[in-house]
Amino acid sequence: MTPVFYILAALTLAGGLATVMLRPLVHAALAVTVAFGGLALLYLSLDAQFAGFAQILVYIGAVAILVVFAILLTRGSDLPREGVFSPAWLSGLVLAAAIFSVLAWAVLRSANSLPQQMAVPQVTVHDIGIALVGRYVLPLEIVALLLTAATIGAVIVAMHEKGGAQ
């Protein structure tokens, strides 16, 4: 728990909170980008270079951009008249708190059951690659299949309807 961790955690939390609190939708999208960036920096501070840069590439470079695109194409960028909170915000809060407490309990319990490793293992990108196409090749292929199916589905949804006026 170094000062760096606290700064990054504060940045990520502030980004996340701003995402749900800000009224303009595009500002919320930009705030979620900040939260993604904070997460990436957290990974980097844990020496997980591959995960950190993949987080930036995928979440800031693609997901955040797709979010703002969707907002602009659906004309949702106008200010909402009423507040941004849905009527069911209280039950949402309870649900979120319950999930958080279960996860925190699980994480805190598992810390004791793991063998105490003092030396941080050096994981290079080479090792990650070998593991991905070696031991974890089946999950990788399943994810690839899922993504391909999703892409084909998106193309079918976006396709011209036959017979109609073009």
């Binding site: 595009v26 840069f53 930036i56 590439l57 800031i60 470079g61 693609a62 073009q166």
Partner: protein, 391 residues
Amino acid sequence: MIDQADQVFVLLQHWLVSFLPAGLQQFAAVLLSVIAIVCVFPGLFALTTVFERKGLARIQNRIGPNRVGPLGILQPIADGIKSLTKEDVVPTSANAGVHFLAPLGLVVAVFMGFAVLPMGRNMVLVDMDCGLLFFFAMSASTEVSVFMAGWSSRNKYSLLGAMRAVAQMISYEVVLLLSSVSVVMIGGSLSLTKIVAAQDQYTGIFPHWYIFTPWGLAGFIMYAIAATAETNRSPFDLPEGESELVAGYHTEYSGFKFALFFLGEYLAMFSISGLGATLFLGGWSAPLSILNWVPSWIWFFSKLMLSIFVFIWMRGTLPRLRQDQLMNFAWKFVLPLTLLNLMVTALWRFMGEGIARWIVCSAILLVAYVVMGRVEMKSEHFGPRSYRYAD
């Protein structure tokens, strides 16, 4: 002597750092390298603006800038002073915070990319294990800045320009990444220094650059197409098509903020050319083994400037594409060819040494290129175009 000329900047850095106490040395070394990058590339940018205006003028049978200094060589200084002293106008309805942050974010993200480029033997700021991934992560985060600039200006031209820019950058980023993956497959590393080291070998006097293989040539051509589109250069300069969108996403920027966008655009061009040279053209290695006495950084920067020259040449020669042509070209022609190139690379890797793999790989790529081109052209209707949404 030759070694010293090659390592002159590294030695200079060590010499300067040696004056400091031991605790500060590492920090000072990094700081010096950062200062060097932050000075050299904007300097190169100033030179390139004059070079580009002169070159375009020659192509268009004009003289170009010739008033400031001998042969107009001091033009960038005049431009810089002009943009520094200009009034910084922010539209009243603009979103001031986002409007202010956009150019800063763009320039910072673009500068970060230079951190992993090996600019000469032992001349790299951070020799990262996944340097290529870092580079692409940084270039992907420039898209957010472009969008921020276009959206915060509250101007339909800015917004349209930003939408075009982001759509184009996302589409061509796929091609850019996939064409680089084939280099990673053969080089076996994401570290750019290792990729250059793998190409710094010679058979006779000829180098082992990846461009001199069938998959490397195809990959390089597709990389160059995608790089041109990523940096919004002609013929893919729709995001700032002057005749239709005023100036694209930086329409509402004036003074030094505009200059920052301009700088960011050229720096992106430098960094993506540098990466192309690193991946396919052997980085800092000499083109012939007998030319190894020339310092390695001279080779890197010559390759960089050569590709900048090609960018300028294309801008002076080619007409601008239409938006649907741009997208169709990316998704229906270049992307399938890149995927095929990945398979050809794998084939090249597993066929072993010999003439057979040259013939088989070249044949597959050539046949695919010709057949796909023919099929695409056949389905292309040359007639009045119907607009789906505008009718």
